[in-house]
């Protein structure tokens, strides 16, 4: 493609004719207008990013004029609504990370195995059943997972562990884990399927079993793609809102006990937004300060994932 393009460019420079564009004529005005309209549409995405960054930074700046960043990022008590106020974001971050780690512990091993199964083992018939089922699982709205957490997972947990609170980390982590499972499995499958057949055939020719081919040849070859799927799934878990708000609760305390209730960054934003908080107050600004923290976390992870995918593509295409 690029070579054809280079030839084309040379021809264009010589003759002044672009194969893809007709010489100017009567319809030119319409053509140019449409081209600019389409450009404007594409530019909306840039404006969105700029808008997000501007809004978050501006409100967070107003917030940090009143509360020192040191208190915000190192404080261990989050009580923005009660006197004495305290703005330590650590409990929210710890709550979010506990959910994320828990969800990852469920979705990463399961999702990888499902991805391996789909790419290496499954017959066409099985794929025809499993793929749509996973797509449905991926398409279920997060609020439904929240319902499932509150009314199915938590009661089930309490049968086995009576000390579990009504809202708890474990239930939130489990439902988020189920939620991101299809993401891990489908991205893993894509990465594994992209590994050239010749690698598999080489391994089989040396007498490897299917397990050895899958686990010791194909899996390492697809590793950066697989890692990218993990990072993307975890970043989704960090930004997950409705399921954790419902299942994990609204009490921002610093705890590492999965049976207790916590509050995630996203759940805090929801809690404040449900009331009518006037603009300009500190409460209003806290959701942007928490939002910018959340945005930084997910952005960093997405950049890592995009890098990994790029590296993976360079190897195999």
């Amino acid at each position: 493609m690029t070579q054809a393009r280079a030839t084309e460019d040379r021809r264009k420079a010589r003759t002044g004719v672009d194969r893809f564009r007709r010489p100017p004529g009567p319809g030119l005005f319409l053509e140019t207008t449409i081209r600019w309209v389409c450009f404007a549409a594409a530019a909306v995405s840039i404006l969105t990013t700029l808008g997000i960054v501007f809004v978050l930074v501006k409100e967070a700046y107003l917030f940090f004029r009143q509360v020192s960043p040191l208190e915000f990022f190192t404080g261990t008590r989050w009580a923005p609504l009660f006197q004495p106020r305290s703005f330590g974001v650590i409990p929210l971050i710890v709550g979010t990370l506990m959910i994320t780690v828990g969800a990852g512990l469920i979705a990463i091993p399961l999702g990888t195995l499902v991805g391996l199964y789909l790419s290496e083992y499954a017959s066409l018939k099985v794929r025809a059943v499993v793929k749509p089922a996973l797509e449905i699982l991926a398409g279920i709205p997060t609020v439904v997972y929240g319902y499932f957490g509150v009314f199915f997972v938590t009661p089930l947990l309490r049968v086995f562990f009576p000390s579990v609170e009504v809202f708890n980390v474990a239930s939130g982590a489990i439902v988020v884990g189920i939620m991101i499972l299809p993401l891990v499995s489908s991205l893993c499958e894509d990465a594994l399927s992209a590994v050239p057949r010749s690698l598999r055939e080489g391994a089989y020719a040396l007498g490897a079993t299917k397990f050895e081919v899958g686990w010791r040849t194909v899996f390492p070859a697809a590793l950066s793609g697989i890692m990218a799927s993990f990072v993307l799934a975890l970043s989704r878990a960090i930004g997950e809102t409705m399921a954790v708000t419902l299942a994990a609760g609204m009490s921002p305390k610093l705890t590492f006990n999965p049976a207790e209730s916590i509050q995630t960054m996203t759940a805090y934003i929801v809690q404040i937004s449900r009331g009518d908080t006037p603009a300009g107050t500190v409460e209003y600004q806290t959701i942007f300060a928490v939002g910018v923290t959340l945005f930084a976390f997910t952005m960093a992870m997405n950049i890592v994932a995009i890098r990994l995918v790029k590296r993976f593509r360079q190897v195999y295409s």
Binding site: R21, R22, G27, E31, R35, V37, C38, F39, A40, A41, A42, A43, V44, S45, T48, T49, I52, V55, L56, K58, L110, V114, L116, Y117, L118, E120, Y121, V130, P132, A133, I136, L137, G139, P141, V143, V144, Y147, V150, F151, P182, S185, F211, L232, G239, M242, T245, L246, T266, I269, V270, S273, R274, D276, G291, L294, F295, T298, M299, I303, I306
Partner: protein, 290 residues
């Protein structure tokens, strides 16, 4: 190595192979079972509550009288408006990136990277954007149009990516044939490329609108209120949507509201699954014709 030891190793490797195959299979089975359990638990809780009255009543303080009429109409308003804003914009952006500007410049590269980054931004952050820009700055207030604009920004990255894929799949010979016959570039795009890419684009449109239908968090930030006893009357009307209604009922302590939430979920899932089925059918048809 004696032949005995060799045989033993081969057997051990075979056993390992078999175990791993089963492990993968069981993992996949767990995924399917989880889906089944989830659907079952919702249907068990909510199926008795489903009735015409449930669809046609407004929310109420009394769980047995509560219904989803305002939520259904609110969702319809938001999804239709979101589509009206996002679909033309998304397709136009994809056309720019795939047709008008086929050569990669730093600008298109920037837009492309930006789109894949935006796709990873949590939906609640779009809510913060909508709250600050549409609700406050543009003073559109907590209205249907604020919600739709926010949702449109949320689904745009997905819409653009899918439309780009669909346009990429149209063979160059279509374009060259049309241009060779003297058509302008826009005539080529409009009469040849777009019709050929339509099934793919339509699939993307359906999938992104179903995403908009199921999203909750951004609309909570926009201020879609949960207790709405009227149907939206216009763009400036306040509103609620089905997922928010479900969220609200789920967070109520009474048993009656739990059933109402489950019934609401059934309605939501039925709509989403039929949308998904349509998308799968379209994709299937497109792949058969290609």
């Amino acid at each position: 190595m004696s032949i005995e030891r060799y045989r033993k190793r081969v057997t051990a490797r075979g056993v390992k192979d078999l175990l791993f195959t089963n492990l993968c299979f069981v993992a996949t089975l767990i995924g399917i079972v989880l889906l089944a359990v989830l659907l079952y638990s919702v249907f068990r809780d909510g199926s008795q509550r489903l009735s015409w009255d449930f669809l046609n009543s407004f929310p109420s303080r009394f769980p047995e009288k509560a219904g989803i009429k305002s939520a259904l109409f609110g969702s319809l308003w938001v999804v239709v408006l979101t589509g009206a804003i996002a679909v033309p914009t998304g397709i136009a952006a994809a056309i720019y990136l795939e047709e008008f500007q086929r050569r990669r410049t730093w600008l298109t590269e920037l837009i492309q990277v930006n789109i894949s980054n935006l796709a990873g931004v949590p939906s609640i952050v779009y809510g913060l954007l909508g709250l600050a820009v549409f609700v406050r700055w543009m003073a559109l207030d907590r209205s249907v149009i604020s919600g739709a604009l926010t949702m449109a920004l949320l689904i745009l990255p997905m819409l653009i990516t899918v439309s780009q894929e669909a346009l990429k799949a149209v063979p160059d010979s279509y374009r060259e044939g049309s241009l060779a016959l003297g058509a302008t570039q826009w005539q080529t795009i409009y009469r040849q490329v777009l019709p050929a890419a339509l099934p793919g684009i339509l699939t993307g449109v359906i999938l992104s609108l179903s995403r908009a239908l199921g999203e909750t968090a951004p609309l909570i930030l926009i201020g879609a209120v949960s207790f709405v006893r009227f149907v939206p009357e216009g763009l400036g009307s306040s509103f609620t949507v089905l997922p928010i209604q479900i969220f609200n009922w789920t967070s109520q302590p009474q048993k009656g509201f739990q059933e109402a939430a489950a019934a609401g979920i059934i309605v939501l899932l039925v709509v989403l699954l039929s949308l998904n089925a349509t998308a799968i059918y379209l994709r299937h048809r497109a792949s058969r014709h290609a």
